[in-house]
């Protein structure tokens, strides 16, 4: 399959499988060869979860894995759209737009891959990192650190342990893994020839960025923003960067930490 340019398309796809992970989260497998064969880690889809025009906009969901003609997404219920996702059954039709955006690999441009990558994920931010881990290969992963809130995330945490063998797990309330944030699991400075790839809540990402003020260019963060078009047209998803407003959907979602004006980000 040829993966033409950065321009996502709309596909009528079908749910191939649904694995609930507990506490309102789950893993959906979607059959759509065009997306599965072209997606790279960090890219996402816009998935329209309902019938008719309500909900109106597609929900951005990171590609959590892709192989053959099937890609996976991990969701957690936060509102109407994700609640509809949670009710999907095998065979249900879904409309997906994708693959969208600049992933971890593309965001690095022409640079050779580093020897080691540290993965840091918060909550469902784990999803694109799973896909990244698969593509990086085990040997290149220095360390995987994941954070969740704690209570109410038991099922999700079990899945994290299964998906990321050897993961260092932290939780805000201390009920799962070690009490604390992912920061506690990260080194004081980045080892030579290594990078940190991160995805999670904005507060976590900006804390990481602040934690490594001199490691510019070696920290890649996948950001979130509210979106309408997912193709660069509406300018709804922009964030402030050192080079002006950039669109999370097509200029991101992966940015280097040094590009982003973390203090001027408004919460999503």
């Amino acid at each position: 399959m040829s993966c033409g340019g950065g321009s996502p398309r709309d596909y009528a796809a079908a749910v191939l499988g649904h694995r609930p992970l507990g506490d309102g989260s789950g893993l959906l497998a979607v059959r759509c060869g065009e997306i599965a064969s072209c997606a790279e880690p960090g890219q996402f889809v816009l998935l329209r979860p309902g019938t008719g025009n309500d909900p109106f906009l597609g929900r951005p969901l990171a590609v959590a894995d892709a192989a053959g003609d099937v890609f996976k997404v991990v969701y957690r219920i936060v509102g109407r759209g994700t609640a509809l996702l949670a009710s999907k059954r095998q065979g249900d039709p879904v409309t997906v737009r994708g693959p969208i955006g600049r992933g971890f690999f593309s965001a690095r441009g022409e640079k050779p891959l580093p020897r080691k990558v540290i993965l840091a994920g918060g909550a469902v931010g784990a999803a694109p990192l799973l896909f990244a881990a698969r593509r990086l290969g085990l040997s290149r992963i220095e360390k995987t650190v994941m954070g969740v809130a704690g209570k109410g995330w038991e099922g999700f945490a079990e899945w994290l342990k299964e998906a990321f063998p050897g993961v260092d797990l932290f939780s805000g309330d201390g009920t799962l893994g070690t009490k604390g944030t992912v920061l506690a699991g990260l080194p004081g400075t980045l080892p030579a020839d290594s990078e940190l790839w991160a995805c999670g809540p904005q507060a976590m990402l900006s804390a990481i960025a602040a934690h490594y003020p001199r490691d510019g260019g070696r920290i890649l963060a996948a950001l979130e923003s509210r979106m309408a078009c997912g193709m660069g047209g509406c300018l709804g998803c922009v964030i402030p960067t050192v080079s002006g407003n950039r669109r999370v959907c097509v200029d991101g979602p992966v940015f280097t930490a040094e590009e982003v004006m973390w203090n001027e980000l408004s919460s999503c």
């Binding site: 025009n53 109106f56 078009c229 509406c234 998803c237």
Partner: protein, 319 residues
Amino acid sequence: MNSLRADLSIAVGGLNLETPVVIASGVWPYDPVLWSPERLEGVGALCTKAVSLQPREGNRGVRVWETPCGMLNSIGLQNSGVRGFLKEYLPIAGKSGIPFLVNLVMESEREVRENLSILRESGDAIPAVELNISCPNADCDGMAWGISPESAARAAAIARSEWKGPLWVKLTPQAPDLPAVAKAVESEGADALVCGNTWLGMAMDLKRKQPVFRRVTAGLSGPAVFPLALRTVWQVCGAVSIPVVGCGGVSRWEDAAAMILAGASAVEVGSSLFADFDLPRKISEGLADYLADAEIPNLAGLVGLGRKEKEGGRPWAQD
């Protein structure tokens, strides 16, 4: 669109459109890589994102928000200014073979004059201008020009004097007396009216207990507003004789047909592209089938057909 069952071409305000489906301003990207002509199947013309004299950063904070069958936006006219536009976009825009309209911000008289004189330098490369006197999302009070017949007439007159090519003027449904505004703009020589822009709405952030948008209000668009937009199209078409382009909530070919029956010569499609990139093709096919089934020979034959007298010869209420 060679497979269409009927000829959908129509002349609207100085442009010859292959189909009456126009992509509304602010929804399509400039980027060459995202801009592939085969994405534009079924499209008759395309409006650019608003272009202002100087580059604009647009609004801070949340910019888009979902609503039932629609969305609010507060983009705030982010654009790289007319010079940036000519440099980045013009070379690509021409390539698609589809006519485009430069959506022009109207902040001040001076701005529009300068803007148009810069555009004039590009000569025929600019097929048409869509004067935006209706943006609700900027501090420049872009919408204020469209509120009263007097100011709208003034805006149209300035643009007309500076731009001899096709000039469409995009009205705001926030005008208290929209037919009067439409007439005023018509009398200043506009070639077509776009009716209309977004509807002033608002959203509240329940977590932070404050308005979602920094400017509090934002523009509502999408299928939710279609019945309102159709009503304004009916009213405006009853008031003017220049072509009217319906805009607001068109999400199915049936909506386009309804606006055309009400008197519109074409429609613009905005937010519903976010739900389906393939919408222009679907609308064009639906319209062509509708014409073919009704044995109406061409699109012009459908324009205003829904305004014919009711049974018994009583006229339709026009309010």
